[in-house]
């Protein structure tokens, strides 16, 4: 059928709605799908209803949706990541259940395929990336002593398109189906001939838009770090987290384009009958694999580097000690970032190229183990001769240290083409990447979440439940993914919705039990949040330094004011705030109070979110008129926004003075607490000097 052969509604019809399948022909698989669809609808309606009930639309609009404040944008990113994460996690559970139940599973092959495709896509693009970006947004400008990121409105736009793309994925649960081609969506399987449905189109547009958002974020963060640091903060006084963010942002700038190109070309093949990756007329599917991994490999380091940054901060803070080997760590981070562009071929060692090429890329891959190893050793040396406190972030970090090394080890094994020929596309690979993604990226994010939560909201998270969840994560992770190493070595391919060989069964059962433990971990995380919300009065830390922190973000109140710093700090040391505390320079009033200029609220991001969501939906369903309209609307809105001339607002000096003096008074009236009382209500965020 020609692309112009569709009517007003394009390909859309009653049969596209997920429930139609259940009605016309009942099965467990369809029921699972329908339940998921129903949950999405129910959750949306419930959220809208609750918002209306509590009459918070106004606040939501003025304080959040139109905000350009990096801290709020960061929080919105994280909330978004958590919503998507819930879906990704549940999908993981269902997949584990299916494989534990196999050979008599309960899902259709295609349904299972949609699960691993959405799970992978969501976890990478809509959980890991937004979580990282959100945390960076929240923390990085504070750490470098800036008022905001370099381009606050651009920041808003990045969030907007990312969220729109994520929503598109959610819609795919209810209307139509998602791609079955995995998160890497290799053609020709995902091409128009073999997959004429809308599934891969959902994938293409979600990737293109979220990719654009990530690229813009990368630009924003890079410029912020390079150009907006506080006076005196030269490169070697930047906190380690900022270094990792800088490298990760550079990866965003240079690694996202190949993905966008690959996805767009796949789209051209599908929509306009081009021949980039088709079987016939000179198309070449190998180009796709090459492009995808040109992006895909840097991507995984893009995710893990900021997590390394979080661990560096956590190890140092909770060992009450300077970070060991700062320069080594910086150099290691940079080497990882650069090397990550030279190894992409290790994802297709088995495509048939000459051994010379495999050798070059294999060795380049293994080289990354050296700087990573240095990092691991440096973290150990940071704890050495410290005073280690076993707090929640620290438990995640120690879990990371032990478990990640195992994942890295399996990575090095995979880097040997000889071995990769045998374990490529098996569960061994699946175990490898979950072993680096969960203890690496997710534990990092969770540690950061527990660590910086008080800075964002002004109160601490419940420590007991936090620890529970950390331990459950660690146990659950090991139970879920270590068996997969075994099953992979025994030859079980990845993406198998079923298997005949009963040798795999025990592994799958253990893995399923593990997934249940992970579910408990997630539940305790949610409980932790609820309990902490309940106890928020008791656990307030208004002074702002609950953990005896070392860098600038701890030197201001919690939650931080919209302008961050009453007076932009001058930096003289790497652990600036620790130095300040020790020399009695902390908690001083500014010399003079000045007016502060910050950007006004801006509806641009929200409008773009809605419009690009509509645009993507229209494209997926071939509703050309709607696509055209929304594209035009986007252009008009953007142009119109450039005609807003007074986009800044002034916070008067008097206001700043009032805020600051109130806070300083609070500091004076607060009793500093020692580290032993860190997790008790006595902790008001004023740390006692202890050495």
């Amino acid at each position: 059928m020609n692309i112009t052969d569709y009517g007003w509604l394009g390909k859309l019809s009653w049969d596209s709605i997920v429930f139609s399948d259940l009605i016309s022909n009942f099965s467990v698989s369809a029921a699972v799908g329908s339940t998921a669809g129903a949950i999405v609808i129910f959750a949306t309606v419930a959220t809208l209803a609750l918002l209306t009930w509590f009459k918070v639309w106004g606040t939501l609009w003025s304080e959040w949706l139109t905000s350009t404040d990096h801290k709020r944008i960061g929080i919105m990113y994280i909330v978004f990541a958590l919503v998507m994460m819930t879906r990704g996690l549940l999908e993981g559970m269902v997949m584990r259940a299916q494989q534990a139940a196999a050979p008599d599973g309960f899902l259709y092959a295609d349904h299972f395929a949609q699960l691993f495709s959405t799970h992978g896509t969501i976890m990478i693009f809509f959980v890991a990336v937004p979580f990282v970006v959100g945390l960076v947004n929240l923390v990085m400008p504070l750490q470098i002593g800036a008022r905001d990121v370099a381009f606050p409105v651009l920041n808003q736009i990045s969030l907007a398109v990312t969220v729109a793309a994520g929503m598109l994925l959610m819609v795919s649960l209810v209307v139509g189906e998602f791609s079955t081609g995995g998160w890497s969506a290799y053609p020709p399987y995902t091409g128009g001939d073999f997959n004429p449905g809308v599934g891969p189109d959902y994938w293409v547009w979600a990737i293109v838009f979220s990719g654009a958002g990530t690229t813009l974020t990368g630009i924003n963060f890079t410029v912020t770090i390079l150009k907006c640091r506080a006076v005196g903060m030269n490169f070697f006084r930047m906190p380690m987290f900022c270094w990792t963010v800088l490298c990760s942002s550079i990866l965003m700038i240079f690694a996202m384009p190949p993905l966008s190109v690959a996805a767009l070309m796949l789209g051209f093949d599908r929509y306009l009958d081009f021949h980039f990756f088709t079987n016939d007329l000179g198309g070449n599917m190998m180009n796709y694999a090459n492009l995808f991994w040109l992006f895909g490999h840097p991507e995984v380091y893009l995710l893990v580097l900021p997590a390394y940054g979080v661990f560096s901060e956590v190890f140092s803070t909770y060992s009450a000690k300077r970070l060991y080997g700062y320069k080594s760590l910086v150099f290691a981070t940079m080497s990882i970032a650069v090397l990550s562009f030279t190894v992409w071929l290790h994802h297709f060692f088995t495509m048939g190229q000459s051994p010379t090429i495999n050798i070059v890329f294999g060795i380049a891959t293994m080289l990354i183990a050296v700087p990573t190893g240095v990092k691991v050793y440096d973290w150990m040396a940071t704890m050495y001769r410290g005073r280690i406190r076993f707090t929640t972030p620290m438990i995640y970090s120690i879990g990371f240290l032990i478990l990640f090394v195992i994942g890295g080890l399996s990575g090095v094994i995979l880097a040997n083409p000889t071995v990769d020929f045998q374990v490529h596309n098996t569960l061994f690979l699946v175990a490898h990447f979950h072993n680096v993604l969960i203890p690496g990226v997710l534990f990092g994010m969770l540690a950061g979440y527990n660590y910086w939560f008080p800075k964002a909201f002004g109160f601490r998270l419940d420590e007991r439940l936090g620890k529970w969840s950390a331990y459950l994560w660690i146990i659950g992770f090991m139970l879920t993914f270590f068996p997969l190493y075994g099953a992979g070595l025994l030859g079980m391919p990845r993406r198998s919705f079923s298997y005949m060989d009963l040798a795999f069964k025990p592994y799958m059962v253990v893995a399923f039990i593990g997934a249940m433990v992970v579910l408990c971990a997630l539940i305790s995380l949610v409980l932790q949040l609820l309990v902490s919300l309940r106890d928020r009065k008791k656990n307030r830390v208004p002074v702002g330094d609950p953990w005896d922190g070392r860098s600038l973000e701890w030197s201001i109140p919690a939650p931080a004011p919209s302008y961050n710093f009453a007076e932009l700090p001058r930096v003289t040391d790497r652990d600036e705030f620790t130095e300040a505390k020790e020399q009695g320079r902390a908690y001083q009033p500014p010399k003079i109070y000045r007016d502060i200029e910050i950007p006004k609220n801006n509806p641009l991001g929200f409008l773009l979110c809605v419009l690009s969501g509509i645009l993507m939906f229209a494209l997926v369903w071939y509703m050309w008129w709607l696509a055209l309209l929304s594209a035009l609307a986007i252009i008009i809105v953007v142009i119109a926004s450039t005609f807003r001339w007074d986009s800044e607002q002034i916070i008067p000096a008097s206001q700043v003075q009032q805020d600051t003096e109130r806070w300083l008074a609070l500091v004076n009236n607060t009793e500093p607490v020692g580290r032993d009382l860190e997790n008790t209500p006595q902790n008001n965020g004023y740390a006692k000097l202890e050495h």
Binding site: L107, L281, K321, A369, I402, N416
Partner: protein, 342 residues
């Protein structure tokens, strides 16, 4: 007995006592879990793995796997060993270690930290280089007898094996004589797939319009399985085939049997074979009672079949979906293709 209510209590008592022994925190118990998991039942015998090699290629791969693992341990074991020590010695509450809050760099230590991993990687790189050039799947294996040629075509969801010199072809069964090098050339007549016989050689991708090569030799009699590892739709998990390694005489007998019982693989048969279907489904359509229950036998009508399959993608004309095996439309009319109900 009121075992039920007592059990948790008793468990708790053990637990506290255990904690007493270990000193603190549930930590140590948790981190000993990996060991328990690696002790999982290896009792059930699996043969579709390179850990039970039937030929030198897979054997070499297995050896390399263990060597690589052992060598990386040099750099990794210190982490396992030292992290607990550091945690105990320097914990805030009862730690006995000294406290040096400003200590941040020490030259010789720095050197070790960079040096040890670098050396390990250096040695590993050397091994990698040797093994990779030795095990190039394109390199023909030198044996006492000349290699036997097999042409492999990936279809949805089955593998077609053509023995051009013997003028036979099979689906679902690959039979090779022991101690004879096998030289495969592979292509696909649908989407990209990944061909794999774990016990004999590693994977290699197959792509329409292109050919890849795979060489191996079997040195043990026996039976194993091969498969596709690249997800290609609902029949993916069934795209497997038996691999039988026979002595020269048995092999000849088998060839004779295929010749005698095979049906002719002409364009019509090939077209039916190429449809989206599993081997089992094809078996129902094409098999004769003389064929085994899990394989199809053919005699070749056109020795250039393989070449024509590859060259069809280079005709310079577009292939419509009706002519493209692996699509829903290829010769199947309007049939619905929901996933198979389990």
């Amino acid at each position: 007995m009121d075992w039920n209510t007592e059990a948790p209590v008793r468990l708790l008592q053990y637990w506290t006592r255990l904690r007493g022994y270990i000193g603190c925190r549930p930590f140590w118990l948790i981190f000993s879990l990996p060991i328990l998991i690696f002790l999982l039942p290896h009792s059930i015998h699996a043969t579709e793995t390179f850990l039970e090699p039937l030929g030198p290629v897979a054997h070499e791969q297995k050896t390399h796997f263990f060597w690589a693992t052992a060598l990386t341990m040099v750099a990794i074991l210190p982490v396992f060993a030292l992290v607990p020590v550091i945690l105990i010695k320097y914990r805030r509450k009862k730690g006995k270690g000294i406290y040096a809050p400003k200590w941040e760099s020490y030259g010789p230590l720095e050197l070790i930290m960079w040096g040890v991993p670098f050396l390990v990687i250096f040695v590993l790189s050397f091994m990698l280089w040797r093994a990779t050039s030795m095990l190039d799947p394109y390199k023909e294996i030198e044996g006492v007898v000349p290699p036997i040629q097999v042409q492999v075509v990936g279809l949805d969801w089955k593998w077609l094996f053509i023995y051009p010199e013997l003028e036979i072809a099979t689906v679902g069964e690959l039979v090779v004589p022991v101690h004879t090098p096998v030289s495969m050339i592979l292509t696909s007549d649908t989407v990209m797939q990944s061909f794999w016989i774990a016990a004999l050689a590693g994977q290699i991708y197959v792509m329409p319009g292109m050919t890849t090569k795979l060489n191996f030799i079997a040195t043990k009699h026996g039976k194993t399985q091969g498969e596709n590892t690249q997800y290609t739709g609902k029949g993916f998990t069934e795209q497997k085939f038996d691999v039988l390694i026979k002595s020269e005489e048995d092999f000849q007998a088998w060839v004779a049997q295929v010749r005698a019982n095979g049906i002719v693989l002409n364009p019509q048969t090939y077209k039916r074979l190429a449809m989206r279907s599993t081997r089992k489904e094809m078996q129902k359509q094409l098999a004769t009672p003389q064929m085994p229950s899990n394989a199809l036998y053919f005699t070749l009508s056109d020795p250039q079949l393989f070449q024509s399959i590859v060259m069809r993608y280079h005709s310079g004309k577009p292939l419509s979906m009706e002519e493209q095996p692996g699509t829903v439309k290829f010769g199947q009319g309007e049939e619905k293709t929901e996933g198979a109900q389990p």
